[in-house]
């Protein structure tokens, strides 16, 4: 054995560490929660790190997981050791290749951070649904239950696949293991080398396709031999368990960590047994240990090799004394006799019993249950409930645990107070904001403790569902013994609340242990803070006898030159109070870590941080807790009383972080949720918000147009309505002719604002007398009571009549009600202004198919969703299918619309004599191009409906079921560049070629934003992204030119920050065009590394540099022999570099590799210039030089 090296790593890194070292090729594609493995592999390759053979593996990003699997297959077939990393839908996309790879007996390991599958809703969280779905592919499956195991099994799987030729899925729980930070013993290269038999690698290469000794593999087979072929590999599977066990034994000899196919824990004479795999196994193991201490005869089997399921080894593992077995599956098999592990165990024991080979001779009672879907917490209390159930005479089979199932009554009750956390372990919960660095500081603490002391450490981090103002909860444990507790902290002896306003929003002390310590970052001192706490919190502090400490971390940060960074200060407080280490030691180690982190940045920075640490201790004070509750403050209700019943009953629970308590009956059966619920979640995340200056405002509408969160609304109304206005309500005479006695109001929804400041940036109205004052300015959030009164009054003002609004101007568009509001997108998001515009223009007849990505997350992530409804109850109908299929999904919407429109027309014709023939005529021949035409059509259809309801006629009922289609629907596919340029490219291409009336909006951030900034084919030349750490060497794909090549596709490239009017025009033209339309919308993004407040300015620079030429290609123009191609932006006026170097994505390379940056920047400039020439030439053609087509019928 070599020297033992320990490190604190996340599960993903622990796996990638091994996979990278034992492979030659990695074909990758990002998908949560596995992306980190691929990112690390790519990063290591970029840094020139080698595998155990001294070669830098080739790491290649593909266009989808399907593509990655294909590349894996090809590389394997030609002899390279190849791997990939994936999860969930990604694994599903690999299925066809997995059958091939296994069918050809090809050694390989796919590393899977196991995750839920999208069913009634998408979930990024962990369970075994994905691996269960690939059970029949022929891949063996090896399960890991902890970060250490994942590290070890990655190697065991690799060694075993080479020895057996059977490919492996090595899986571990998404998030719970993939994202847990844990102190592990690291495998040395020497140990890794010792596990890999070079002869087996040579044998793999010898089996490769090679023209020097050719053969054919991948034949098409017929009934005569296919069946036999499928059976021919049976011996390989039969040998596999022994090979894996042998590999584990060898591994144990090398490392001292011995594993078995099935690990047994507990009483050797156990009567009750749980069988489980994945991280939950450690929960059960810990529970078994606790129950054993009370004399219960219980045990657990942890499954490592779950496929092939070795009956022999399994039977040998079960104590003969066992009377009842519960098999726990972290997946759901609807309609099956049970979940996979359960059926395997059941079949194994039944077969053995029937064959008379059961050692005990009697068949134990066997029940199966489901737990932990989508990272649902699985705690020792739940494990205990299962053991308790097994003790019953008639235990419940096919049970669930961890939820309250009041529909099918499957769930087991459990006692949440059951606590088995050992004494001596520091268990800390930290409540912070994503933006305040709490998680980063905790990761740092874990590293400090884990790597510079003999103590063990574990960290797990819970994030909320919003991208802006999101809250984080860190669960951190420190102790003298290895920590195997894959469950959230239920009783914390330390609670840190890093944001004072949480005391009114979150029940931060719910999990506080009696006698624990509560550290609060508070602007109020030790003598004043008590009165500022709500009653409930005071009660908890007194009842639980908590020690309360306060620090004004913001002040310390300011005074020590740390600016707004409070994380080091709060970290220091934790170390000072928690007793994890002696205080002096702890402070010394923090300082050591500071020197390590900031040393390169200069002594001054180091000293600044040291000062902050020292000052922290001086400003940390204990509060003398009074004996009685004195506060009159109550924590406010989560949802206002005016909210709909569903919101109050269900949504509010989720908003309060209590969604786990919702019973099954509360949750919709088919994933259908009400629209427009963000309005009930007043998040109040902005410290400063825009304030309107009516006297300066020119009412241009720019601010409202660009607002990503729809918090700037405009209305005009008759001046008499102001008579009942609250005193704070602002108003100005409207600045438009033909509107006498009319007032204008720009209302700011301060509680929903994220404080991004885009509105101020685009405001053109500068005060004539005061420097820096515009018609809209950021200011500290005003007093909320009067703000709420103003908003309520504003909402009572009538929504402006769409037929009176000028749709063709930005000024007019501000009066269109947004039906997409208050999303959880990043502050200053560059995508949502386009989405909002879509909802304003066509919202009441809009169908949106939304590709998975940022827009599906801020558009559809529970608890509250932003797509809303107007006063008539109409609004966008929105759905997300998948990432890869969005074009096809939306195309399906079109097919229904076309088919049902035809059906409705035919039925209307057939019924015209029973209703009103003239009305039917008018309906069928209605043009429906302008808003007023649509309005009239709606009225006609309403009349028709009323007439149909009077008829007792089957056809009338049929017509009523499709009659809504008679009002023209606006069908849009919305998604990001990852979808449109990469994974959905084929589908998008196909539907664009269809000639049908569909509209595509590509929110082009030029990178996979939602999964954290990986390169797509939209990523520009010279930009750095994940998977393009050395700068992207290839120019962005010109999707506009590709689509224009079809001739019948309306194409526009827009950037609202450069020309909002052109954006508006393009949206309207695209929608009016009766064929396929494609809009490519420049969307600045947090992943560009920019100050988001200047996002619109960057858009403008993208255009003025010529990088993003604004174009419109309208085939309708060709019909009148005009040039359909219009170039809307002027010739480049600034250099590409002057635009690009405002962004970290470009600037980064100039820091890491200045020469390459210079080279790529020069090339990028050339690309800009050449593209411009092509566009200019196209703009100068006449219409006859673009080919005609017959697919689109012009209205």
């Amino acid at each position: 054995m070599t020297e033992r090296k320990v490190m604190t790593l996340e599960g993903n890194e622990a796996v990638a560490y091994v996979a990278y070292r034992v492979n030659e090729v990695c074909a990758i594609y990002p998908i949560t929660p596995s992306s980190t493995m691929a990112e690390l592999a790519d990063q290591w390759a970029a840094e020139g790190k080698t595998n155990i053979w001294g070669e830098v593996p080739l790491v290649v990003e593909m266009q989808s997981e399907g593509g990655a699997a294909g590349a894996v297959h090809g590389a394997l077939q030609t002899g390279a050791l190849t791997t990939t990393f994936t999860a969930s839908q990604g694994l599903l996309l690999m299925i066809p290749n997995m059958y091939k790879i296994a069918g050809e007996l090809t050694p390989a390991v796919l590393h899977v951070a196991a995750r839920s599958l999208a069913a009634q809703g998408l979930s990024i969280f962990g369970d075994h649904s994905d691996v269960a779905a690939v059970r029949d592919t022929g891949f063996a499956q090896l399960a890991s239950a902890s970060v250490q195991e994942a590290h070890d099994m990655a190697l065991i799987a690799q060694a075993a696949t080479l020895a057996s030729r059977v490919p492996f899925v090595h899986f571990f729980d998404g998030f719970r293991t993939s994202h847990e930070v844990s102190k592990i013993a690291l495998l040395s290269d020497q140990q890794i080398r010792a596990m890999i038999d070079e002869n087996l690698i040579r044998a793999h290469r010898a089996r490769a396709l090679n023209p020097d000794h050719p053969f054919i593999r991948g034949t098409a087979q017929n009934p005569d031999v296919y069946f036999q072929g499928r059976e021919s590999a049976n011996p390989f599977y039969a040998r596999l368990p022994a090979i894996v066990q042998q590999t584990m034994r060898r591994f144990g000899e090398l490392t001292g960590r011995a594993y078995r196919l099935f690990e047994y824990y507990g009483d050797p004479a156990a009567e009750r047994l749980i069988v489980i795999m994945g991280s939950g196994a450690y929960t059960v193991r810990a529970t078994v240990a606790a129950l054993q201490r009370t004399g219960e005869k219980v045990g657990a089997i942890q499954v490592h090799l779950c496929l092939p399921f070795s009956a022999e080894d399994f039977l040998a593992t079960i104590p003969e004394t066992v009377k009842a077995i519960a098999v726990l599956d972290r997946t759901k098999s609807p309609g099956g006799v049970g979940e996979p592990l359960y059926t395997d165990v059941l079949a194994t024991l039944s077969e053995a019993y029937l064959q008379g080979v059961l050692p005990s001779g009697t068949l134990p009672r066997i029940i199966g249950g489901r737990y932990g879907l989508s990272s649902k917490e699985f705690s020792p209390a739940m494990a205990r409930a299962v053991f308790d159930e097994l003790a019953k005479e008639r235990p419940k089979n096919h049970f669930t645990v961890g939820i309250h199932d009041d529909v099918s009554h499957t769930s087991l009750d459990y006692d949440p107070a059951f606590d088995i956390e050992p004494e001596g372990v520091v268990r800390a919960l930290f409540f912070g904001l994503g933006a305040d660095g709490t998680v980063g500081a905790n990761k740092n603490s874990i590293k400090i403790i884990g790597e510079s002391t003999d103590l063990y450490a574990q960290g797990y981090f819970v994030y909320d569902s919003k991208k802006s103002g999101s809250q984080t909860v860190s669960h951190v444990r420190f102790g003298a013994d290895p920590i195997q507790a894959p469950y959230l902290i239920e009783s914390a002896n330390f609670i840190g609340c890093h944001q004072f306003n949480f005391v009114e929003k979150v029940d931060v002390l719910a999990k506080a242990k009696r006698g624990g310590t509560f550290l609060l970052n508070s602007p109020f001192g030790a003598d004043a803070v008590w009165d500022e706490l709500p009653r409930e919190m005071q009660r908890q502090i007194i009842d639980k006898k908590l020690k309360l400490y306060v620090i004004d971390a913001s002040r310390v940060a300011l005074e020590t030159g740390m600016g707004g960074r409070t994380n080091t200060i709060m970290q220091t407080c934790f170390f000072a109070l928690s007793g994890v280490l002696p205080r002096e030691d702890a402070i010394a180690k923090i300082k050591e870590s500071i020197r390590k982190t900031y040393g390169k940045k200069g002594e001054e920075v180091v000293q600044k941080n040291f000062r902050a640490v020292d000052q922290t201790l001086e400003h940390l004070h204990e509060v003398q807790v009074p004996e009685s509750v004195s506060s009159a403050k109550e924590r406010p209700a989560v949802a206002p009383s005016g909210a709909p019943e569903f919101v109050q009953r269900v949504t509010a629970m989720m908003m309060a972080g209590l969604g786990d308590e919702l019973p099954v009956s509360a949750v919709p059966v088919d994933g259908t949720y009400p629209s427009g619920t963000t309005q009930w979640e007043k998040r109040n995340i902005a410290l400063s918000v825009p304030v309107w200056e009516p006297d300066l405002c020119i009412q241009c509408g720019n601010c409202s147009f660009v607002c990503p969160h729809s918090v700037i609304r405009a209305k005009f109304y008759h001046e008499t309505r102001l008579q009942k206005a609250p005193s704070a309500f602002k108003s100005a005479p409207i600045s438009a002719r033909g509107f006498p006695e009319t007032r204008y109001t720009l209302q700011i929804y301060a509680e929903d604002c994220t404080g991004c400041g885009l509105c101020v940036e685009v405001c053109p109205a500068q005060s004539l007398q005061q420097s820096g004052v515009k018609a809209i300015n950021m200011a500290p959030k005003p007093e909320l009571v009067s703000e709420r009164e103003s908003i309520a009054f504003f909402e009572r003002l009538p929504v402006n009549d769409r037929s009176r609004v000028d749709f063709s101007s930005v000024r007019g568009a501000q009066f269109l009600e947004p039906l997409f509001e208050f999303s959880g997108a990043c502050a200053g998001c560059g995508e949502t202004p386009y989405v909002k515009l879509l909802s304003q223009l066509f919202g009441d007849r809009l169908l949106v198919a939304n590709a998975t990505g940022c827009s599906s997350i801020y558009g559809g992530n529970l608890p509250t969703t932003p797509w809303s409804v107007n006063q008539e109850g109409r609004g966008p109908a929105w759905s997300n299918s998948l990432f890869e299929d969005n074009a096809e999904f939306g195309f399906g919407f079109r097919l229904t619309a076309d088919q049902h429109l035809n059906l409705a027309r035919r039925l209307a014709r057939e019924l015209q004599d029973k209703v009103d023939a003239q009305l039917v005529d008018a309906i069928i021949s209605a043009p429906q191009l302008t808003e007023s035409q649509i309005r009239v059509q709606r009225e006609r259809v309403a009349r028709l409906k009323a007439l149909l309801l009077l008829l007792d006629d089957e056809k009338a009922k049929d017509l009523l079921s499709v009659v809504d289609h008679l009002v023209r629907r606006s069908i849009w596919m919305v998604g990001g560049d990852g979808w449109a340029y990469d994974i959905g490219s084929g589908g998008l291409d196909h539907v664009l070629a269809s000639g049908r009336d569909i509209n595509v909006l590509v929110l082009d951030t030029e990178v996979y934003s939602n999964t954290g900034g990986q390169m797509s084919k939209a990523t520009p030349l010279g930009a750095v992204a994940k998977f393009a750490a050395a700068g992207k060497p290839v120019a962005k794909k010109d999707l506009a030119l590709q689509a224009i090549a079809y001739g019948n596709v309306y194409v526009a490239r827009v950037a609202m920050g450069a020309n909002p009017q052109q954006t508006l025009l393009a949206f309207r033209e695209a929608e009016a065009y009766p064929g396929p339309s494609l809009i490519l919308a420049y969307s600045h993004c947090i992943a560009h590394g920019i100050n988001m407040q200047h996002g619109m300015r960057q858009q403008d620079l993208a255009v003025t540099s010529g990088y993003w030429p604004l174009v419109r290609y309208n085939p309708a123009l060709r019909e009148s022999a005009k040039n359909p191609f219009v170039l809307d932006s002027p010739r480049p006026r600034v250099k590409f570099k002057d635009y690009a170097f405002n962004e970290l994505r470009y600037k980064m390379l100039s820091r890491t590799n200045p020469k390459e940056s210079e080279r790529l920047m020069a090339m990028a400039q050339q690309v800009v210039e050449q593209k411009w020439q092509i566009y200019e030439e196209m703009a100068s053609r006449n219409g006859t030089r673009f080919h005609p087509d017959a697919s689109v019928k012009f209205r």
Partner: protein, 329 residues
Amino acid sequence: MDLTTRYMGLELKHPIVASASPLSESLDGIKQLEDANAAAVVMFSLYEEQIRQESEAFDYFMEHGTLSFAESLSYFPEIDDQPAGPDNYLDLVRRASEAVDIPVIASLNCVSSEGWIDYARQLQGAGASGLELNIYAIEANLAVSGREVEQCYLDILRLVKSSVSIPVALKLSPFFSAIGHMAKQLDDAGADALVLFNRFYQPDLDIDHLEVAPTLRLSQAGEIRLPLLWIALLHGNVSASLGATRGVETAVEVIKYILAGADVVMSASALLRNGPRYLGNLVDGLSEWMDERGFRSLGQMRGVMSRGKVKNPKAFERANYIKVLESYK
């Protein structure tokens, strides 16, 4: 014709030096300046503050929005955490020193003692032939006295001189109550050259938008008067070399500066306006004028119009002012 001159201990083939400008921001630019016959190149300034700010911005954008949302816990690939230091600048100095035969003088502006010492040493290590300290600060703090500002200049000079062995020039601001005294103190403190004068940031106001407009204006020929005066006054009174900068539009300004006593004359604006090759015109113009006047060497010509050499030295002082006024009568 002997045009050679000695500036801050460096032997130069003639007195015309390309001063700090965007032309020296790339190796190609520096090579072009050499090809255009520059006697030496002063590189664009390395600003510690800019590096610090860029480093802070870099860290900020690397971390902004991270660890907030479970799917996107970061947005950029991890890079080896090398703070943005002067590496690019040092690299350029290194490459330029190797690629050209003329001296490459690095220009430095720091905000901390640590920075002055550290960067000066690194620039010396990278092969810079000399350093020009571009002490560039607008003292907006009303509590700071002129004496303190002077002391700051002296401290920085001493700090750098004690840190490096290559020659150190100091680019001066004209805003001292007693420039002559200040120059003498710097001379005593060991400055190898004094460069007169810095043209620094003087923002304009945009009256349409009521904003401060940070515009940079190229120098004009008329601007030579102030440096010309002080070079004439200092020549012969300090042992440091004298570099003249500002307002060099044609050979006429070069000639004037040398007559006043400059060891080198620096040009940036004219080269930016007319291209690097224009530098050759300045050399030719000087040479032709010397030829016409029968000067055989620069040494012969230098300082003949300095205060110590002119017939009426008072003309450089108040009398000069009076005389000018009289000439209007």
